[in-house]
Symmetry: C2
Subunit: 183 residues, 2 copies
Amino acid sequence: MERILATARASFAEHGFAGTSMRAVALEAEVDPRLVAYYFRDKNTLLDACLQPPDGYLERVDQVVHGPMRTRGSAMVRNMLTYWEDPQTSSILRGIVLTAAHDDVARERLTAIYRTAMIGAVADGLDDQQRLLRAGLAAAVIIGLCMTRYVYELEPLAGLDIDTVVKLVGPTVQRCLSGRLPT
Amino acid sequence: MERILATARASFAEHGFAGTSMRAVALEAEVDPRLVAYYFRDKNTLLDACLQPPDGYLERVDQVVHGPMRTRGSAMVRNMLTYWEDPQTSSILRGIVLTAAHDDVARERLTAIYRTAMIGAVADGLDDQQRLLRAGLAAAVIIGLCMTRYVYELEPLAGLDIDTVVKLVGPTVQRCLSGRLPT
């Protein structure tokens, strides 16, 4: 089942929803197509399973975004990098980020994750639009970092150790969360 | 020819190099397949044409990154947003950014653009590794902004006018270029 999911994830990310078939996934994962149909019924169900964040991911993000405000930006960057460093979880996140670029269901899923996970990172005292805007700015920085470092593998950013990246990008995310925004 | 390119761009972005055929592009663009072969010879040539930045783009970026340092970050953000707002040029940039996510040729092309275009934005006085690192951090912020605003269409960021976005994100890019970096 993990092999089916990994294959399907790569296919959705690369070929989109329309370019992915249950049959082709089965062939590539070297399993009987009936097994794919048994586990996942149809292509929508399969996509949905592929877009599930890694186990415990949302809970972990929730913990991090409720940590001390002073270091929250760095903690968020470190947490995201940790998930992207691990091949098991990075393939899932990569699948979500890339599939969401050309598939509406995936895009809505990504947006929902961001709305629930990120808005909690911003101080309570602000109104919802301000909080969403700040969360969006922080998300933009984090997504850009992951694209540049893990998807495009841009050097020297891709080759730095996690601690250095956290030091470099943490304060930027922190400013989005709790710094002064231009009016 | 523009229709062939637009169709091919969308196909490379969505289905990758392997999932794109000259024949399918011809069919979808509603032109004779021989015409595609006449203009572009083979799939590599077609991809290469698709990955060409918009006319004048590199010259424009070169101008912007050599503008006054004090406002360079904002000028870079404004320039990028302007290209992404125009449907004609945004489809090209979108194609490059998304194709580069799963195709090595496109990724190298994107990296080359970034190396030549972005490194000029960083002050001369620093050594090359420092300049590349700063350019990479600035690129990460700008790519993240474009993904969030134009590809994922995350609100409220997607709905803000350009001036507001420049005010919000310009200073962040500026800090990457000329601010103090943590050591």
